[in-house]
Structures are given as structure tokens and as C-alpha cells.
């Protein structure tokens, strides 16, 4: 399958402050990511805070211009943000935010907000638009009587449904969901995850699903990329990556998930400081916390490459594989 969206060598950096003398210090949020999203798949991006996963998501959508590298949508380069071409492209790709209350205008009814993309892109008006809004609301499980409500009158799960239906209004092809269920209660999370799965199947959407919650990512995604300090350290089908993690960071991440009904046994507890993009260690960024790192790891940045049919970025890959095979 040809990828619908392709990212090559993406780098993003921000100035972290101002200096009176010399160059202002900068922080690399994303540090060289290659990624291909295939049509109709759900690609998960997991990582902890500071891994650059949200920045990557915004660059994939063209909301931010990368410092280096490029994003191609259906083979074409991504137009610069806030140009007319870019605005037209928004009809095909949409972002779903973590906090639905913040993403909605609290002074507009939800029907007006769902209709907004239709107005912006001049697609339909009046009765036709109202019909489409009603259809969209039904699609995401909102009741018709909620059309005239304001966002604060709805519950968290319902608000996220509004955001989702607004994103779907233009029948987009590509959706980036940035932590869409993290702010929701456990029992509501499952409702929204199921909704996203259904929509993806029925509308043939391509999705990038960004989350720190491995369990949710595993449930919804076909393929997953694990990020650490701005780089992808492991990529593959989600069953394989979570079932048999290869990179030491992925292994620790998978192991850190407490399982209901089981105690704290056989867990890999990572030591050391949490990752800080402003102070990236030399070489493999993970080596200071890695149990199997040696001097070589501090000297060379490992590239994401194939080892026994799996993509990992670890110099010790050869050392791990015999150990697990034995």
C-alpha cells in the first residue's frame, strides 16, 4: 500500500529562552523522525511527556512548519500554515484535542459549532447544513435535543463527541487524535474508544492516535511507534510491539503498566531522571536510564533499522535478540 502521508527527517526545535549574549538556547522537541501512514490504518504514537509526540502530530497535520525535514500528503508537500491552500486542505485532515472543553467555544451552541466547518469551507447552508449537523450528531451518539446546548452543559464524554462530530463534518480522510480520552473517566473512555474504532471502520478513515496510555493504544491501533526524546525508538504492529517489546525503553514502558489483580512483581523499574528535551544526553538519548547500555551507547545515535523483521533504534539489539531467543 502506498502511504497517504509521509514524513521524512522531521525536526522541530523551539527557543527556550532569551540570552543577552550569544545564541538563545533551544530545545529539540522532535529530532529526526521518518514515518509513513498508510491509508486506512490507525497508527499509534506512544511516549511519555517530553517525547515530542504531540509536536510530531501537529507537524503531520501541517499545523506547525518543521525546522527541518518535510511532510508529504498524497505525495504533495504540505503547504505553509495559514495559506489558502493550507486552509483548503483542512477539509481533508483534522485534529482532535485532549481537552474538549477548551477546544469548544463556550459561547456557541454545539450545533453551531458542528456546522462551522461547513460554513468555513462554504460547502452547505441553511436546511442542508442543519440536516448534516443532525446526521453527524446522531452518528456520534448525541441526542437531537442537545443541539442547542452549550459546551459546559454537557459531560466530558459528550463534549468529546461534539469535537469528533465537528472534525467529521467535512468527511476528512485523515484524523490526528492527540490524547483524546486521557481527560475522560475510565467508564467513558471505553465509549469514546469504541466510537473512534467504529468511525474508522465505517468511514474508512486514516488515523494517528497519540497517547501515553499503552492499553488504549494497543486496543485501537494496528501499528505503533514508540517515541523517546524526540525520536522513534521502536515501530511495528501493535500486537508485536506490546507483546514482545524489543527496545529496552519499550520493555520498561510495557512493564510499568500495573495490571488489575496483580501485584508489583517482575517489573522493570526505570531509574534516573525523567527525559528532559532541554538536556538531551549524547548518543542514544535513553542510555543514562538503560540497564544494558555501555560506553558505545553514549557515543552514537542509533538509527531506526530492521532486526529480525522488527524496527528498533538500539545498538544493543544484537545482544538482546539471542537473550530472548535462548
Amino acid at each position: 500500500m502506498t502511504p497517504i502521508l509521509e514524513a521524512r527527517g522531521l525536526v522541530q526545535q523551539y527557543a527556550t529562552g532569551r540570552s543577552l549574549f550569544g545564541k538563545p538556547p533551544s530545545m529539540r522537541a522532535v529530532d529526526g523522525v521518518d514515518l509513513a501512514v498508510r491509508e486506512g490504518e490507525i497508527l499509534g504514537i506512544v511516549g511519555e511527556s517530553g517525547s515530542g509526540k504531540s509536536t510530531l502530530g501537529r507537524m503531520l497535520l501541517g499545523l506547525e512548519t518543521p525546522f527541518a525535514g518535510e511532510v508529504r500528503w498524497r505525495g504533495q508537500p504540505m503547504p505553509a500554515p495559514r495559506t489558502d491552500m493550507w486552509r483548503r486542505l483542512r477539509a481533508q485532515m483534522q485534529l482532535i484535542f485532549q481537552d474538549p472543553l477548551a477546544a469548544l467555544d463556550r459561547r456557541m451552541t454545539i450545533a453551531a459549532q458542528i456546522a462551522e466547518p461547513l460554513e468555513i469551507h462554504g460547502l452547505m447552508k441553511g436546511a442542508e447544513a442543519a440536516e448534516r449537523v443532525a446526521e453527524l450528531m446522531a452518528r456520534v451518539g448525541l441526542r437531537p435535543d442537545q443541539a442547542d446546548r452549550y459546551p459546559h452543559e454537557l459531560s466530558g464524554g459528550q463534549r468529546q463527541r461534539v469535537v469528533i462530530s465537528r472534525a467529521l463534518a467535512m468527511r476528512p480522510k485523515f484524523l490526528v487524535c492527540d490524547e483524546p480520552v486521557s481527560a475522560l473517566d475510565v467508564s467513558i473512555q471505553a465509549q469514546v474508544v469504541n466510537l473512534l474504532r467504529d468511525l474508522q471502520e465505517q468511514e474508512g478513515l486514516t488515523m494517528v492516535f497519540i497517547s501515553h496510555d499503552l492499553k488504549v493504544v494497543h486496543n485501537i491501533c494496528n501499528r505503533v511507534a514508540v517515541m523517546y526524546l524526540g525520536r522513534v525508538v521502536e515501530e511495528g504492529p501493535s500486537g508485536e510491539v506490546f507483546g514482545d517489546p524489543r527496545h529496552p525503553y519499550t520493555r520498561a514502558l510495557v512493564s510499568s503498566i500495573p495490571k488489575a489483580g496483580r501485584g508489583l512483581t517482575d517489573r522493570i523499574i526505570l531509574q534516573g531522571e525523567p527525559p528532559n528535551p532541554a538536556m538531551r544526553p549524547p548518543g542514544c538519548a535513553f542510555h543514562p536510564r538503560c540497564a544494558i547500555a555501555d560506553a558505545a551507547c553514549a557515543g552514537e545515535i542509533p538509527e531506526l533499522s530492521g532486526h529480525r523483521g522488527r524496527l528498533t533504534a538500539c545498538l544493543k539489539q544484537r545482544a538482546i535478540i539471542p537473550a530472548t531467543a535462548a
Binding site: 529562552g17 532569551r18 540570552s19 543577552l20 538556547p25
Partner: protein, 309 residues
């Protein structure tokens, strides 16, 4: 910390340069600086000499640089009324102004902050309502109305205090009271809301959960945090004091900087006005710099941030 102070100083210098540019632009827009600084009645040869000296026929950017250089040599021109250097006239008036503004500042802080903090600690009580009401009255009564009412009561009716002049310490009482009332109100109100905000923070709950007595929670945790925003307001207070001095000194015939600015504006003694503008701006900028440094000392988070904003 050094970096922090340096960045604040850079900002202070920037502001000063902007004030000078402001004075330059206003001066150029309003007419010929030679007649402005020397007065309309100056003899023609004096005007010509002035023009030659300050290069008024040069391009504007050269004039601007010359103007800045002039200011850095503390040459602000000659007062057209008194034929004295403008700076000398201004400096002569400063002690009188300090004599009323410093006590007023002490009153503002000494009464305003405790009242606001007390109100915040006893929310919804009678004392709280009293503080809110008095503070609103405090800053809605114009200083000139208050001054006249005070004169009417204490000088005209009761005859206890003099209504103007600078002969004894009694003369300073009414100006000081007038100057401080509005500021006390603002200070009390702001301290109250700063304190209420701090009391709602999670670390106050932590301090309570630790087992500290309420008194210790307030003194050791709430007040040090509330002092951070309160200090910023002190910077604004300095500006308000100088502006207030213009009105109050005029009413009470107090021979300070404020009265000087009003009279020189009325007489269009522009060299003095320009000098006053720069002197006042410098003192304001210096006060704000001190406030910024105090701010940095009180809040360790600011110190380590390199960014100026």
C-alpha cells in the same frame, strides 16, 4: 540571578531610551526647538548660536544622536523663566517632594497591606466588608476633592492645621494624608485578593496537612507567597505618588516637583518640563528595577528563568 538582573537592567535602559525618544518626537512635532528651549523672546543671535551648536540643520538622525548625547551630559537647557539650568531648578525641588511622598508611601504599605491581609483571612466578616467598602471609597474620591474637604474641615472649620505652605511639620500632614488615602485603598484591595488567591493554592493544604497551626500556615507559607504579587504593585505606587504629588502640591502650595511641573506646563517653560519628564521617568524606571529585583529575590522561579517576559 546575575543574568536576571542584567536582563532587567537592559529593559530599564530600553524604557529610558524610549522616554527620551518620546520627548524628542514631541518636541520636534511641536515646533522649532530653538524657540522652545530658549523661549519665543530670545534674541536672534542666541537662536542662531543655538541652531549651530545643536546642528538643527543636520539630518534628523544626527539631531537625534546629538540630543541623546546632550542628555547624557546632563544638559537639559535653560529655563526661560528663571534663566537657570533646568536641571538645577528640578533638583532643588526634590527634597520637598520626598518629604511628603516617602511618609505617604510608608502609610500606604503600612496600613494597606495589613488591612488587606486581615480582610482576606476573615472573609465575609464585618471587618472584611468594612475594608472593601473603605477601600472603594479610598480610590474613587479624587485627591483634589479630598484635599479640599480636608482643608474645609481641618483648616477652615476646626483651624487645627494650616491649609498651605511649608513652614512646619504641621504643614505636611494634610498633603501626606491626601496623597496616601487612595493608595491605601488600592493596596488593601490588591493585598486582599492576592492573599485569597494564595490561600486557595494546594501548598497551603499541604502545610495544613503537615500539622502546622493556622498561624504558622499564614505567616510561613501564605504571606511569603502573597508578597510576590504585592511587590509588583509597589512599583505602580511610585508612579501614582508622583502623579498625585502634582495635584496635591498645587493645592497645598507645597514647593515640590509636582507643583513645579504644573507651573512650568502652565507657563510653557519647556526646558524644565522636558527635564522633569526625564528625571521622573528615570526615578520610575529605577523604582521598577528595584521592584523587579525584589521580585526575583522573593520568587526563586523567576531567578532561574532566563527569559525576560
Amino acid at each position: 540571578m546575575l543574568n536576571f538582573i542584567l536582563s532587567r537592567m537592559a529593559r530599564a535602559v530600553m524604557t529610558l531610551v524610549m522616554v527620551m525618544s518620546f520627548a524628542f518626537i514631541v518636541m520636534r512635532l511641536s515646533g522649532d526647538p530653538a524657540t522652545i528651549l530658549l523661549g519665543p523672546d530670545a534674541p536672534q543671535d542666541a537662536i542662531d548660536a543655538f541652531r549651530a551648536r545643536w546642528g538643527l540643520d543636520d539630518p534628523l538622525w544626527k539631531q537625534y544622536l546629538a540630543y541623546i548625547a546632550q542628555i547624557f551630559t546632563f544638559d537639559f537647557g535653560i529655563s526661560m523663566r528663571d534663566q537657570m539650568p533646568a536641571l538645577d531648578i528640578v533638583l532643588e525641588r526634590i527634597p520637598a517632594t520626598l518629604a511628603i511622598t516617602l511618609p505617604a508611601m510608608i502609610l500606604k504599605l503600612g496600613i494597606g497591606i495589613p488591612a488587606g491581609v486581615y480582610a482576606a483571612l476573615h472573609r465575609e466578616s464585618i471587618a472584611d466588608r468594612g475594608v472593601i467598602t473603605l477601600s472603594i471609597f479610598g480610590f474613587t474620591i479624587p485627591s483634589f476633592v479630598l484635599a479640599l474637604v480636608l482643608v474645609l474641615i481641618f483648616s477652615v472649620q476646626l483651624g487645627w492645621l494650616p491649609s498651605g505652605g511649608q513652614d512646619s511639620w504641621q504643614h505636611a500632614i494634610l498633603p501626606i494624608v491626601t496623597l496616601s488615602v487612595g493608595g491605601i485603598g488600592i493596596m488593601a484591595r490588591f493585598s486582599r485578593s492576592a492573599m485569597i488567591e494564595v490561600l486557595g493554592q494546594p501548598y497551603i493544604r499541604t502545610a495544613m496537612a503537615k500539622g502546622l497551626s493556622w498561624r504558622d500556615v499564614v505567616w510561613k507559607h501564605a504571606l511569603p507567597n502573597a508578597s510576590v504579587p504585592i511587590v509588583t504593585l509597589v512599583g505602580f505606587m511610585v508612579g501614582a505618588l508622583i502623579a498625585g504629588a502634582a495635584v496635591v502640591e498645587s493645592i497645598f502650595s507645597w514647593p515640590g516637583v509636582g507643583r513645579l511641573i504644573v507651573s512650568s506646563v502652565a507657563n510653557r517653560d519647556l526646558a524644565v518640563v522636558q527635564c522633569l519628564l526625564l528625571v521622573i521617568a528615570s526615578s520610575m524606571v529605577a523604582a521598577n528595577l528595584l521592584v523587579d529585583i525584589a521580585y526575583g529575590l522573593l520568587d526563586p522561579r523567576l531567578r532561574s528563568k532566563r527569559s525576560a517576559h
